[in-house]
Amino acid sequence: MEAVRVAGIGKYFSSNGVTALKDVSFALERGEIRAVAGENGAGKSTLMHILSGLIEPTAGEIEIEGKPVTFASPADALSAGIGMVHQTPRLILDFSVLENCMLGAEGRGSFLKYRSAAARLEALISEYGFDLDPAMKARDLSLSQKQKTALLTMLYRNIRILLLDEPTAALAPQEVERLFDFLERFAASGGSCILITHRLPEVMRISRKVAVIRKGELVADVETASVTAEKLSHLMVGGELKMNLPACSPQGDTVLYEAASVSRRVGGRTLLDSVSFALRSGEVLGFVGMREDGLEALEGVVSGFDGATGGAITLSGTDATGADTGALRSRGARYVPARKLERGLSLRATVSDNLVTDHYKDMSSGGVLDLEALSAYATRLAGYFDLGADIRMSAHRCSGGMLQKIILSRELSDVPTLLILAEPETGLDLASRYRLEHRIVELRNEGTGIILFSTDLDEALALSDRIAVLYAGRIVRIFDCADFASMDPEIVRHVIGEAMLGIDGCATGPAGAGPILAAPAGTGPGSGVAP
């Protein structure tokens, strides 16, 4: 039986004259997991928002289990059994996991029944094997826990049709597996699922059928088994993409950046525990791990946002301990933060203003800006990632992918001495990812030292020369990617994944004990070796 059928769905935004969707029709069987693939701005999210009642289509019909429906709000969709888990989990940060689940599904009566709700939630948690404490504040959850909480909020209200928007972005490989296990069980019990993703291996792994959307149109809706990943990416982009990156260049041998026993403790909690590493110019050093395992804290210290409470940092041979964001920037550091909306740009400024925050001073004299030069410069930058938007418009009208492109265009425009990249590929489509990776290689060849923070193992593997694994505030392993070249990717993922989750026994032991640990290529004292 069909769980969902949409026919001729179209969406035209009168506010900006954009047609986001044109005549999209497809059907989803009960118990089916359907993948939806497409580039940024292709219209995937718009389609999901229509199905979840956030926006109303300008054309077309929706049927749920054979019955025609119209959704005026998410409340309507939820009561019809459709729920959505957004890419950035929409949780109320000051609420506990339990309260987040209860919100909108409080049950009968005016008063909240915390106890029975908690019991029900506990049952769900153990049924699906999630590692969640219902009493925890959403603010304190890791990204993967947030994603699980968002899933729970839907399961809690007996959703039969789940819409998932890029759910795997922040998960370790093992966690992705667990999520997929969960989805399969959900489907087996009669639920249906639509999964937006741009990770083609995941499409191949989980879905029975895959729909591809390009520029608002459904260009393919086929059995997954009948297509290859290449074919899919061809469909998504609408042409061939050269995906072969330039080969690894030889690394320089001067130490550009060195952290010695850097610690950070706040309010009695140890966020970083004697982290030491050295970065050579022309090298990409990737840090992987959970954000709360030190990735976020190390990003804060390296970028100059947060101070270290112990240890020393040198940049280009001179002391940079305690240097703040401004000092680092003036010494040639550039920074793409993980928290884009907080640190990466201002939604209240125009696209153009956001593009030039790195260079406005160069285009001014006596404190007065040269607007024409700025505008020309911004236009040039906007072309780099093919932003495709009027640069005079306010940034708050941009999609998540466009915002990421703005940040990258700005921070990667020069050849920085040190480049700090955190989760650089989130929200990027294939073409932009390709461009980004290309640029990273370019910069590396120019001698830029790059520190990459990523919760996405594939991203880290694709970009890094070395990978350091953070667990519980410490570097537990540093891998040399050259050693992975000849290995089965699945085994690599598994090994690194275990280190990220602290389950390979090395978390407490000396860093050198791991089986695949390569000796650091550098010669600097202690470089690359975690204590």
Binding site: R348, A349, T350, M393, S394, H396, R397
Partner: protein
């Protein structure tokens, strides 16, 4: 609170600029349509009077009397009209509003009342030499367009103070300090230089041991604060409070009623406000003054350039002794002493000239 302004995206200012521009355009269109149908400036009719109230009429007996007296006089004269304009409580605005009134040229006489008005009117008089002013409760000599009548508020304060002294002397025993209260809305020259000293002087005349507990509300309407101030006085052993705080007087009355203390009234007869609690009313008869002066102007008998000071002898300041509520609330011996004092002032044997208030 921040989302007051976070909600506006950056294009909003311009949109709103457009909106405001449109408003201006519509307004202009309306003006053209209306102003074409209007005739030019109108001439002042012989009996046209404007009352400029430096404040608001509501809740201010002084201004209510001013308006009532003027209207009464005008009503008795055929063809005479009265326009009342309120200037609001911000005195910085008064000159401009009064100038606007004079600038209309529609009013032969502007009647107003406040110690600060003479100098404001004198300034305006230079620009509009044809405009005549009658100012009550103020003093200015020698301007041929301005006539003033000033009340002897030293007498007024003295009357209430004397009664307060008498009552305190009678009620406060056992060597406790003799304190009387004065709650003022604000401190202003007449309050600080005439009324308060007069009040204290009168009280000391009746009971030399008396001291005055003076407190300020800060405005003319915060009754709850006035209640608290009065309660603070009562806790200090005050038995009688004079309250000169406009609407906030009600707070003093409520407190006194609850704590069984006495209140003195100022400017108007207040006995009925709270029988048994209000035990004295030192009044000025502004309605009578306004009536009499406006009438004499209408009859063409007003002398401009003169400054009168009027008191109990002239019948414009008084203490209400004949109200049945007064008779009921105040013991006979006290009433007798108060009456004797009033008689001595009326007869001139006790002279309380108001200091030349500049």
């Amino acid at each position: 609170m921040k989302n007051w302004f976070t909600s506006s995206p950056s294009s909003r200012p311009l949109r709103i600029a457009g909106r405001v521009g449109l408003f201006a355009a519509l307004a202009l269109a309306a003006i053209f349509s209306v102003s074409c149908s209007r005739d030019g400036g109108s001439q002042a009719k012989p009996g046209s009077i404007a009352v400029f109230v430096p404040g608001v009429v509501s809740g201010s007996p002084i201004y209510e009397m001013l308006v009532a007296g003027t209207q009464k006089a005008a009503a008795e004269s055929k063809g005479s009209t009265v326009k009342v304009l309120e200037g609001g409580t911000d005195q910085a605005q008064w000159p401009e509003k009064l100038t606007s009134l004079a600038a209309t040229g529609q009013y032969r006489l502007i009647v107003t009342s406040n110690p600060a008005m003479p100098e404001i009117c004198a300034g305006i008089s230079e620009k509009f030499p044809a405009q005549k002013f009658l100012i009550l409760d103020g003093k200015l000599e020698g301007n041929k367009n301005i006539a003033t009548v000033m009340y002897n508020q030293r007498e007024q304060g003295y009357f209430d103070g004397y009664l307060a002294g008498l009552i305190t002397k009678k009620l406060v025993k056992n060597g406790k300090p003799h304190r009387i209260g004065l709650v003022a809305a604000q401190e202003y020259p007449v309050m600080n230089e005439i009324i308060k000293p007069g009040y204290e002087e009168g009280a000391k005349a009746a009971d030399p041991a008396v001291t005055v507990d003076f407190r300020v509300v800060g405005n003319w309407y915060d009754a709850a604060k006035a209640t608290e101030l009065a309660n603070g006085m009562f806790a200090n052993g005050v038995e009688v409070v004079l309250t000169i705080a406009g609407g906030a007087n009600q707070g003093v009355v409520a407190a006194a009623k609850q704590k069984d203390r006495k209140v003195l009234w100022f400017d108007t007869n207040g006995y009925a406000t709270e029988p048994g609690v209000i035990v004295g009313s030192a009044v000025i008869l502004q309605d009578r003054a306004a009536y009499g002066k406006v009438k004499s102007w209408l009859d063409g008998k007003m002398e401009f350039g003169k400054a009168e000071v009027v008191g109990i002898k002239d019948g414009f300041v008084d203490f209400v002794q004949d109200d049945p509520l007064y008779l009921k609330a105040v013991p006979e011996d006290v009433r007798k002493a108060q009456g004797a004092m009033l008689e001595s002032v009326r007869s001139g044997s006790l002279s309380l000239p108001v200091q030349a208030a500049n």
